[in-house]
């Protein structure tokens, strides 16, 4: 089973994800560049949406890959 990265962060309090913060975003991506599921990130629905948005913005700007590494 894919365990959450850190269970204690469940109830994520405002992670303030920015598309320029690539080090943080990379933590929530698989080696193939897929966004981790909520059960893996431990994020609430709202924060997961922010994460999705930030990663997609970074991909558009050529900062993150759409697929592969």
């Amino acid at each position: 089973m894919k365990r959450p990265i850190n269970k204690s962060t469940r109830g994520c309090d405002d992670p303030r994800l920015d598309y320029k913060d690539l080090e943080t975003l990379a933590k929530y991506l698989s080696p193939q560049g897929e966004i981790h599921a909520r059960r893996r990130t431990g994020y609430c629905a709202k924060c997961q949406r922010q994460l999705k948005q930030a990663i997609k913005r970074a991909r558009h700007m050529g900062l993150l890959a759409f697929v592969g590494q």
């Binding site: 050529g62 900062l63 993150l64």
Partner: protein, 185 residues
């Protein structure tokens, strides 16, 4: 008037000529449509995660500006048509982040010099011919051979070692086979 954050991915070919000229292209588009620039600075020069307009590297420009919401759409159209701006992203911003103003001023000072962006290793074959195939080939071969020579040499050394006894064995067996044949004759 709203505050916006804009990031622009600029073509390194233009950046290599003159950074201020390259910077002026998207900034000029913004100002043309009534934006007032708060800060603008070189964010990074980095290799792209995937090829964009046949480029593998690009320079990012980060701008904070105030503009009329209606003018953003016209800016977008102008930026789409601009070939120097390979990608752009315009977002609403609450405030100019801390430290951004200082970085902006640091870039304006006379001491600031833009590091020369490294050569773009073009994957596309047509563009490769224009820039000179020899250089690109030389660099790529360097990369390949530098990582491989040790194991390759080791392999060949082992092979030669293996070959010599094997040849000797075959020769000796041939002699043996020949020898009885001659006896029989």
């Amino acid at each position: 008037m709203n505050l916006y954050e804009g990031m622009f991915l600029l073509d390194n070919n233009v950046v290599r000529e003159d950074w201020n000229k390259a910077k002026g292209i998207p900034v000029g588009v913004l100002e043309k449509h009534g934006a007032s620039i708060k800060t603008s600075r070189r964010w990074a020069e980095r290799s792209l995660a995937y090829t964009i307009q046949k480029s593998n590297r690009g320079t990012y420009l980060l701008v904070h500006f105030e503009a009329d919401p209606d003018s953003i759409q016209i800016m977008r159209r102008d930026l789409e048509l601009n070939e120097t701006v390979m990608r752009y992203l315009i977002l609403r911003a609450e405030e100019v982040p801390e430290g951004e103003q200082e970085l902006h001023e640091a870039e304006l000072s006379t001491d600031f010099s833009v590091p020369e962006p490294p050569e773009d290793h073009v994957v596309d074959s047509d563009a490769g011919e224009e820039t000179g195939d020899l250089d690109i080939d030389g660099v790529s071969y360097d990369g390949e051979y530098s990582s491989n020579p040790a194991p390759k040499e080791a392999d060949t050394a082992e092979e030669t070692k293996e070959e010599t006894p094997a040849e000797a064995v075959t020769e000796s067996t041939e002699e043996k086979t020949e020898a009885p044949a001659s006896e029989e004759a």
